[in-house]
Point group: C2
Chain length 212, copies 2
């Protein structure tokens, strides 16, 4: 079992990855922890602490090799793997995710969309056919699917999740506005868009009260 790393550190890793990618795109290959700290907005000591969780990567007086650090963080994030992925729910959000090429580029290969509404079944999103959710469990088993994205209405999300788990999925990216009940060995990452918007609303109101 790996050493315990806090969720706060884990959630910062994709941000390091994104900033390092930007640096590479700008042809910057070496960076001090001070410079990195100025760009990314964490303190240099925070950065050193975060990276020390994974063995540390900088060299005293040299700074970080950007490409090496980018690749190492990518590996820590599991981005050296390919994840066969399906999307459940072919409404607007499911289609938007299917259409976003960035996920494919990072190794999340979207293989199919599933939908309960017969109006959608058989249609295509790019080259992806929308399949009947009734055949989803067989499809998952036959095609070695690793990740499922739930984009269904909240009413069907738990039922879909139960089916996914039965078919052997242990990674769920959940956009339905519900907290799924899942076995311990299934990993879920929620994107609760309405909660995010309500947080913005709260902050905006507080700001307006303060300035009145």
């Amino acid at each position: 079992m790996a050493k315990h790393i806090s969720m706060a550190v884990i959630r910062r890793l994709p941000k390091y990855h994104r900033y390092l990618k930007d640096l590479l795109e700008r042809d910057i290959h070496r960076i001090s922890s001070k410079e990195l700290s100025e760009i990314i907005g964490f303190t240099a000591s925070q950065i050193r602490q975060d990276l020390n969780n994974f063995g540390g990567f900088g060299q005293q007086g040299y700074g970080y090799n950007v490409e090496e650090l980018y690749n190492e963080i990518g590996k820590i994030l599991g981005l050296n793997n390919v994840y066969k992925t399906i999307i459940v729910g072919a409404g607007n959000l499911g289609q938007a995710i299917a259409n976003y090429s960035g996920f494919q580029k990072s190794g999340f290969e979207i293989k199919a969309l599933f939908e309960a509404n017969p109006r959608f079944i058989g249609l295509k999103i790019r080259e992806l056919e929308i399949l009947d959710v009734e055949i989803m469990e067989d499809y998952i088993k036959e095609n070695d699917i690793k990740i499922a994205v739930i984009c269904t209405p909240k009413e069907s999300a738990q039922d879909v999740a139960d089916k996914l788990v039965r078919a052997g999925i242990n990674g769920i990216w959940n956009f339905a506005p519900v907290d799924l009940e899942l076995p311990e060995d299934v990993v879920v990452e929620n994107v609760h868009l309405t909660e995010s918007l309500f947080t913005l609303s709260y902050l905006l109101n507080e700001k307006n009260k303060a300035t009145k």
Copy 2:
């Protein structure tokens, strides 16, 4: 100036709001903090502490009046207001957000989409016309827009944000994978989808390592 409330508490408020709405939909009008705690997954003492930040709402031995608590948290979240909202970037994600009726129901009235790509300008998403981003600043001023949703590629997000701020917007819901530089009086809430997916990837890998 209101008392300082931590972001952790603030981010739990929309979750309370969602669970209370579910209770109302199930015709449950009174709930003890113990029952609420079992449903929502926070401890009863956490719930009392959270709500005490806003004056507290329960009565000893009575529990919470669900509707009252729902309405009060709604007010704290600023959901008794209507926010005229625009979306910038009419790609898949911008269209998905424009099409989601739930935001409208909560008071976020989407008034227009803006786009730089001439192929999209003039098209309609539901009854919303896609307008040229060149006229965005005037539109914001003339229509008293309060919130802007950025769904552009990362390359144009900062430029769009600068324009929004110039036009008087002080609430930004940002989906572009970039950390915007904004004046202090502008509130931003980020939804970094790729970072969320990479977090799932990390957790899935750790789980798989642990079970090998």
